[in-house]
């Protein structure tokens, strides 16, 4: 009887609220950063090799698709960085009431966008 009991729906029906969305994106960005840093390291390896490899490095660098991915990667870095700082504050129990949580979330978004744009278009 007991084992026949159905499990009530969870992930599919719970509203995608800011709190959980920011949390899961922190994980996603963390995972993609660790994979991305290996790829970036490989890309840098190209000019540590022979000069003849350098033009491969340049071809890749000029590729628009590659640059787009690099841009996303920049956003990922800054999101993970700023949201990580948010988590550091929470570890001290600071800024954990709901209003501060929402405020800091929007701050993270704002700072992420601002720094990504700074890095790519103004530096």
């Amino acid at each position: 009887m007991r084992s026949n009991r159905p499990l009530s729906p969870h992930l599919s029906i719970y509203k995608k609220i800011l709190t959980s969305v920011f949390s899961i994106f922190h994980r996603f960005t963390g995972i993609s950063l660790s994979i991305g840093s290996i790829l970036i390291a490989l890309w840098f390896c190209l000019f540590a090799l022979l000069p003849s490899y350098y033009f491969v490095f340049e071809i890749i660098s000029a590729n628009i698709f590659f640059r787009f991915i690099l841009f996303i990667w920049t956003i990922t870095i800054f999101y993970h960085l700023f949201n990580g700082v948010r988590y550091l504050y929470w570890s001290f129990g600071i800024g954990m009431d709901l209003n501060s949580v929402y405020f800091s979330a929007y701050m993270v978004l704002f700072l992420t966008m601002l720094s990504s744009i700074l890095v790519w278009f103004l530096l």
Partner: protein
Amino acid sequence: MAEFTLPKNSIVKEGIYHKNYKNLENIKKLIIYRWDPENNENPRLDTYEIDQKKCGPMVLDALMKIKNEIDPTITFRRSCREGVCGSCAMNIDGINTLACLKPIGEVKGDIKIYPLPHMPIIKDLVPDLSKAYNQLESIKPWLKRKKYLENNESNKLEEKKQSPKDREKLDGQWECVLCFCCTTSCPSYWWNSDEYLGPAVLLQAARWVNDSRDSERKNRLKDINDSMKLYRCHSIMNCTHSCPKGLNPAKAIADLKKAIVTEL
């Protein structure tokens, strides 16, 4: 490993549409999760149409109206109808809350009502909370004093007083009505409910840890200092978001973690 999809017997099917033929103007549609243990069918979503003008302001009033006037088989827990008992906890419009505190007017469009997420269902909107209650028991939610013999003789009959300042430390913790809205809103609890205690129980743990009259503070902290029991909390903050009483379990858990680091 977390299972993100529902088991086969839990997949929700379309149900019965209870149409309201009398009134077509002030109609509000309620889409409600139903499961009957007496037949072997999957859960289903039934739709009910109610006349909003002839119904009380809260979602619980709508449920009572349906039970009284349309379908007496619909099953849900309720008692105080004013947010004190914590019985009518359910998932309304995608967020866990108490039906008696959720105004119908706050929901735009149809009101979808599910039982508390990721719980075994007894019937319709009634989840089996026994696992959560056992977890609550495991943190020993009662006042513990060192044995009388270890203390002064005078301690034996004297009341243990608490200063208003010490009493203030319990504010935001004693108010919990144990509706388990927070616990069942926590994705981490969905995937680790066998071992992770969940926000509601950890909030209660904090309530007894912070009680100045309790002499077992250190032991209580030691008991919950466990990678599964406590540290499955990743500060997702869904608990604080969903609490119908406006409490902050996430903060209480963060303070517990801090106390463990600084005091043990």
